[in-house]
């Protein structure tokens, strides 16, 4: 019997033949914590007196949810993680470097890896064909120290996607549609495997959007085969040598097969307060919106900014609507700067926050007032998510966010087909400039990420020496 992608990755990591349903202890390649979950992980390791990490060079601590820190307690939590990085040689992704799921995939994740993260959207790495899954602080802490953890090898749902996306309809609409279809618990404990011609033709950036939201259907992972697109992405990010093809066997066993033809798909909107409360744009159009937000680990990459910039270029946002835009990482920030998108969005009337989670989790900037409605590119809209339980959150694609910002009410992005397909638009403007931006951003990320290890070596005993730096 053939194997699913999940089964293949677990077989490699366990060193024997394993099947869905088995409990295994598997080696971990990459692990991450962020500023909301990391301090607890650190305290658990202290309790266990485990100070050595199995793979400090691939253990990454992110300061992204409250970045820059909005309160002294959070600033102190940041310091807990900085000190832990110094002590253990773990990689530190500083304030301003970006969201954990954006950065980890830009720099650390390779096809066939197992990645665990103390953040539910760790499943984003499935787009690179890594078995990536979210866990709690204690699980990840122990995984970081022992280099392994236990898993139940999940059964897989195959999501077979055919057809061509109509203009104005995007990966985000596909994943919202799927979650609406199967429900917020429709894939609990399962892996989703996305395949079919529409996935094969999809950009890496859109694939990240899809895998990112697997957890919103309850799934443990959202996997996509490693193919030529994966290869090109890794080459662009300077680790082409890490590429290898991985795909499910033709005779792999799936618990369920779901087929979607995207040719018939419409822009989708999730209504408050659950992600599976989806409606088509026709049903959603006209709802008055107070604030739009382009950002988060779901939709804050160059492609997302490109779509928004195309639609809003030369226009002014509707009076009375606030528009917050946040790049997912330093790398994205450099790219969108060089492409001129900051300029376009600024002229349109947007305001910017530094790379990070921004208003997504209600920690700082962008908390809505009582009764206000926000339309965002976020991945979840639970009550209170943006910091006010009396606010309402709607989820949609970047294109729908742009159209809505123009009109002040939820609006259909398909109206902007001309802008979206215009060849004269200076997208990916100047390849030389872009290349420069890529190299510069990569260097600055690498520098911060490896600073500790470089300066101090992975295991430093003299803490006084650390302070003198």
């Amino acid at each position: 019997m053939g194997k699913t992608i999940a089964e293949k990755i677990f077989c490699e990591h366990v060193g024997r033949d394993v099947k869905a349903g088995e409990i295994v202890v598997a080696d971990i390649d990459v692990s991450l914590v962020q500023d909301g979950t990391g301090p607890l992980a650190v305290r658990q390791l202290e309790k266990l007196e485990l100070e050595k990490l199995a793979k400090p060079e691939r253990t990454v601590l992110f300061l992204d949810h409250s970045a820059p820190a909005s309160r002294k307690e959070l600033a102190n939590d940041h310091d807990t993680l900085r000190n832990f990085a110094k002590k253990t040689g773990a990689q530190l992704s500083e304030v301003g470097m970006g969201i954990c799921h954006t950065v980890i995939n830009e720099i650390y994740v390779n096809p066939g890896d197992i990645l665990i993260g103390a953040d539910s959207h760790t499943c984003t790495g499935g787009a690179l064909c890594a078995f990536s899954t979210g866990m709690g602080s204690t699980d990840v802490a122990i995984g970081m120290a022992l280099g392994k953890t236990w898993f139940r090898v999940p059964e897989t749902f195959k999501v077979f996607v055919t057809g061509e996306f109509p203009v104005g309809v995007f990966a985000k609409d596909l994943i919202l549609h799927l979650i609406g279809l199967i429900g917020a618990d429709g894939a609990t404990y399962k892996a989703l495997e996305f395949c079919g011609p529409a996935i094969e033709n999809m950009s890496m950036e859109s694939r990240f959007t899809i895998s990112n939201m697997a957890v919103e259907a309850g799934a443990k992972a959202g996997l996509i085969a490693s193919d030529e697109t994966t290869k090109k992405y890794l080459e662009k990010m300077g680790r082409g040598s890490k590429w290898r093809p991985i795909a499910a066997d033709d005779d792999a066993e799936y618990e369920r097969v779901i087929e979607i033809d995207v040719s018939y798909l419409k822009p989708m909107v999730s209504f408050p307060h659950t992600v599976d409360n989806t409606r088509t744009i026709e049903e959603a159009a006209g709802v008055v919106i107070n604030q739009v937000f382009l950002g988060t680990c779901t939709n804050s990459r160059l492609e997302d900014w490109d779509v928004v910039s195309r639609i809003v270029k030369g226009k002014r946002k509707a009076p009375g609507i606030r528009f917050i835009a946040v790049p997912g990482s330093k790398y994205v920030e450099k790219q969108v700067m060089d492409a001129g998108y900051y300029q376009i969005l600024a002229e349109f009337g947007a305001m910017f926050l530094p790379p990070g989670c921004g208003p997504c989790v209600g920690v700082h900037g962008g908390v809505p007032a009582d009764g206000e409605k926000s339309l965002t590119t976020m991945n979840r809209n639970f009550r209170g998510r943006m910091g006010n339980p009396k606010g309402e959150i709607y989820l949609a694609s970047p294109a729908t966010v742009a159209a809505t910002a123009i009109e002040g009410v939820i609006a259909d992005p398909r109206k902007y087909a001309r802008e979206l397909t215009s060849k004269s638009f200076p997208t990916i403007v100047n390849t030389e400039a872009l290349k420069r931006a890529t190299v510069m951003a990569m260097e600055s990320i690498e520098k911060v990420a490896t600073e500790t290890a470089r300066k101090l070596g992975p295991r430093v005993k003299e803490t006084s020496e650390i302070k003198s730096h």
Partner: protein, 166 residues
């Protein structure tokens, strides 16, 4: 081991944002303080009314959303004896076991808010004394029983120095 307490009934899809709201992010390193806000966005009065040993009773997909282990931790800190629900989100379920909070899958439709419950973890039985009904719950996977019996994942590793799940 039998647990006694009162049922606090909640609906479907209680997320970790309901349980440990993001606006209290700054209290995550101060769990007793964070626990004062437990389940605040589902029921503002819960934290002041709950007594040690009481039960949180949810519908389907309890604990969906973020991976924050603070959510089951503060439910436990509030003194809750166990969470009962028709189904649980995966990460919450695993976290609850790791922090030593029993999570029981059963047909909670038959339990009403305020009912007096008696839960026998070993026998896998829930008695609703107010309604005079008996419910059974799905046994936990063996791996999780091992971790729970050791007192959570930290205690498990302390005891064995490694995963010892067979």
């Amino acid at each position: 081991m039998a647990l006694y307490g009162k049922a606090f009934k909640f609906g479907d899809d209680i997320s970790t944002d309901h349980i440990a709201p993001g606006r209290y992010f700054h209290l995550r390193s101060n769990l007793p303080e964070l626990a004062k806000h437990v389940l605040e966005d589902a029921d503002e009065t819960f934290a002041t009314r709950v007594k040690p040993g009481d039960f949180v009773v949810g519908g389907k997909n309890f604990g969906l959303g973020s991976s924050r282990e603070h959510a089951p931790t503060i439910i436990k800190l509030a003194g809750v004896g166990a969470v009962l629900a028709k189904s649980f989100a995966r990460i919450f379920f695993r976290n609850a076991i790791n922090v030593g909070l029993p999570v029981l899958i059963c047909d909670t439709d038959r339990i009403c808010d305020g009912d007096e419950l008696e839960v026998d973890l070993e026998a896998g039985l829930i008695k609703d004394k107010t309604n005079d009904i008996e419910l059974s719950f799905t046994p936990l996977p063996k791996t999780m029983v091992t971790i729970l019996e050791d007192g959570g994942l930290v205690a498990h590793i302390q005891k064995h120095g490694d995963f010892k799940l067979d």
